[in-house]
Symmetry: C2
Subunit: 99 residues, 2 copies
Amino acid sequence: METNATQELADLLKALGEYNRLSLVYELCGCKQARNAMCLCECCSVDASVASRHLKVLTQEGVVRMEKKGRERIYSLNRTDIARQLRALADQIEGEPSL
Amino acid sequence: METNATQELADLLKALGEYNRLSLVYELCGCKQARNAMCLCECCSVDASVASRHLKVLTQEGVVRMEKKGRERIYSLNRTDIARQLRALADQIEGEPSL
DNA sequence: GACATATTTGCACAAATAAACAAATATAGG
DNA sequence: CCTATATTTGTTTATTTGTGCAAATATGTC
């Protein structure tokens, strides 16, 4: 567990860079309210346990935030934070090179 | 090989979501001119063959463009294109949900 | 052609990853 | 306490991935 900025960004991009996880993110994109895992796992054709693990990865990487609600866990996107990080990378890539 | 927009974006993010590949991208970020693989592979501590493979992935995903120059291949970033895709995702994530 | 340099490819291997299913856990509601 | 529902965890399997090294290829130079 290094506290390396490059590694952390790579981990974030890797979390987003898997088809089913990205599908979950897209699904959450369109949701005003937080959704539970059972509902979310329908958007990608995987087992509930698989969705659970994917959501865990997304939570660990800060893409998603989880909240307990009764016997379910509801998930919502960390919209501004993730958007900010993606734009920061875009800016860096597009920015003027120094050498 | 599906022509699925979600899959293609996931592939792009996966290409960026590996430490050494992201390091190569950062290295190219700071370069005004295109660089060859020997030079680039110094930024990450890997074998030249490994860098070659990473650069191939980045090329296939359109992150980088390659040009032959004598016996070397020089690489440069597809800055505007990648930045555009990252911003598009950021916009989608931050955009107002429909339901 | 001989040689040097840059890059790719073949191969082997270890580690990481995604998936499915069953079992365990948590919690709401009778 | 019992049951139903939601989620996580353990286990196994198959696949992918990143890596290094040696060999092959490509190309410039002498």
